[in-house]
Amino acid sequence: MSKKGFFGNWGGAYIPEVLNQTFRQLEAEYGRARQDPSFWQEYTALMSNYSCRPTPLTYAANLSRHFGGAQIYIKREDLNHTGAHKANNVMGQGLLVKRMGKKRVIAETGAGQHGMATATMAAKFGFACTIYMGEVDVRRQRPNVFWMEKMGATVVPVKDGSRTLKDAINEAFRDWVTNLDDTHYVFGTACGPAPFPEMVSWFQSIIGQEAARQILEQHGRLPARVYACVGGGSNAMGVFQGFLGDDVELVGVEAGGHGLDSGRHASRLCGRDASPGVAQGYKSMFLQNEDGQMLETHSVAAGLDYVGVSPILSDLADKKRVRFESATDQEVIAALDLTMRLEGIIPALESSHAFVQAFKEAPELPQEAAIIINMSGRGDKDIFTIAHAFDDPSWKEFIIARAEEYRK
């Protein structure tokens, strides 16, 4: 990262003046934490005692056999407390908030996963907590709202714009500029104004550190390729950082939605619909129209359904260090289905995108080669979306019967 928070052409901190001091404080605290080896120790100790780190790197014997090519390993971020890699970032920022002496945290959430993680962290650290969530997402993801509220957080449905993730981010910024003295905004992915992209990636690098050690222990050498889904880019950055300096091909998989030509997707780094832009505080590739107005995006996976992408990934794309692919909603459901049946593992819809691409490429690799799929989260949180996507008739009956009871 350059002094101004750029990675190649991308990044920066396009923030309202009122936040200037807040960002200086954050940068300073983050800088001190990075210099201080005891901080990372405290962080990993917390993650091992409260979450379940190191998470396993599971050898997927059945999938490997099924595809008959590379040996498939799955990095199990689903086994984190709250069920996804989001916990890593959130707990790290929680420690920083404690250091800064702030008493309140806010966050945006799309799928609800980052909101859940933040509400959890706030309960654990004793912070007040407000979560901004697009009204559409509140309606789609009611279970997560329920848990956030039970954890003591206030969930604010955002009724502006497309009423999804990007609007929740805008609204969280509006809160922040109002309450900056006691409040920290826990950004949920490797986007946003500097130092967030780098800082979030740093906390997530725990994934790659572990995975690099684990693959050597288990497979005896580095993997040929590493796959991760890319929403904002935090889980991808997390795992990729374990292999950036090595001869390992890194593959980011974006949401192909109904297909790259359909206009209904969320692919920023592959496909032709995105262009350079500046929004939500950073410069990167955005799905926007000619005038610079952001477009509506689509993905079966709420966590990938976002207009922007990490500036660090935009840079790695420029440098051809990471290859970007996309997976359609349909392919995602098929890969999820196969993984459940063959391995007894339920990847989140987001994570399933990485599985799709890995499955496409595994057969063409030799059996001595290993590949790692970063399973960013578990899918059982997505019962409402997944059962819906599978169009399961008994699920529908179940919901209708429940509703009957509640109507009485």
Binding site: K4, E17, V18, N20, V177, A279, G292
Partner: protein
């Protein structure tokens, strides 16, 4: 004449100047025209025209909604530039564009500046472009005689105000408080201390915005600032009472 000069000249004739704000294309360019005529007729000294953006992160609910409705109604950047040209040609007060950086970035910085210049626009307010990000752009603007207006916030230290002043042109926009547009600000001694700090930090005219609602608010600024900025208050007025209410409201402020 450049913006700073124009304002200083006008200021010699009045205790305090009035700057007003509107969102282009909201509710329509037609209504924008009516409103601007009334503003000018009632003595407004400077008008800030917001080119709508889908992600107006520094704006409160009223302006946010106006942005979204305008875009939904089909407002384009080209149409905003053309409308700006028409206004600047029609009235003898400075017109500014206010927008978010992406609108300019996407249009092309130089291309945008040239178009603004050609339209007779004298200043730009870009709330998400601090000088660290926009230094080069600000220089290009200055080269074309367009003022890139910077913002002071209550959280800005004296040192920071100094840094900002280095880049500032036209006037300095002093945000009256933390937060987004559209909420009432409290004017107490802390606020006056802040304005005094602002005054010490720059020789440019000072505009004060965020939540100015009525004659008392404006009066309180006399002697402490040069421009009072009326933001979302007029939008709400138009929404509630129609464009004709704008003239009398402006007239009542001073």
């Amino acid at each position: 004449m450049q913006l700073e000069e124009t304002l200083k000249k006008r200021r010699q004739e009045k205790d305090i100047l009035l700057m007003t704000h509107l969102v282009l294309g909201y509710p329509s360019f037609e209504v924008n025209r009516t409103i601007i005529r009334q503003m000018v007729d009632n003595g407004v000294d400077c008008i800030e025209m917001q080119i709508p953006f889908s992600e107006p992160m520094a704006d409160g609910p009223v302006i946010l909604k106006a942005n979204q409705d305008s875009i939904a109604a089909g407002t384009t950047v080209a149409a905003c530039l053309e409308f700006g040209r028409e206004m600047a040609a029609s009235y003898d007060i400075p017109f500014l564009f206010m927008t978010y950086y992406n609108i300019i970035f996407k249009y092309g910085e130089e291309r945008f500046l040239d178009a603004a210049k050609a339209a007779g626009i004298t200043g730009l307010i870009i709330p998400d472009l601090p000088p660290e990000m926009g230094g080069e752009f600000m220089t290009m603007a200055r080269d074309r005689g367009i003022a890139a207006i910077l913002i002071f916030a209550p959280t800005s230290t004296d040192e920071r105000m100094g840094e900002l002043n280095h880049w500032a042109a036209g006037f300095v926009y002093c945000a009256a408080r933390r937060g987004v547009t559209g909420k009432k600000s409290e004017f107490g001694s802390e606020f006056y201390d802040y304005l005094a700090r602002c005054r010490r930090a720059t020789s440019l005219p000072l505009a004060v915005g965020f939540g100015i609602q009525n004659r008392e608010d404006v009066a309180a600024l006399i002697g402490r600032a040069d421009l009072a900025v009326i933001g979302s208050r007029t939008i709400r007025l138009v929404d509630e009472e129609g464009p004709e209410a704008v003239g009398p409201f402006i007239a009542s402020l001073r």
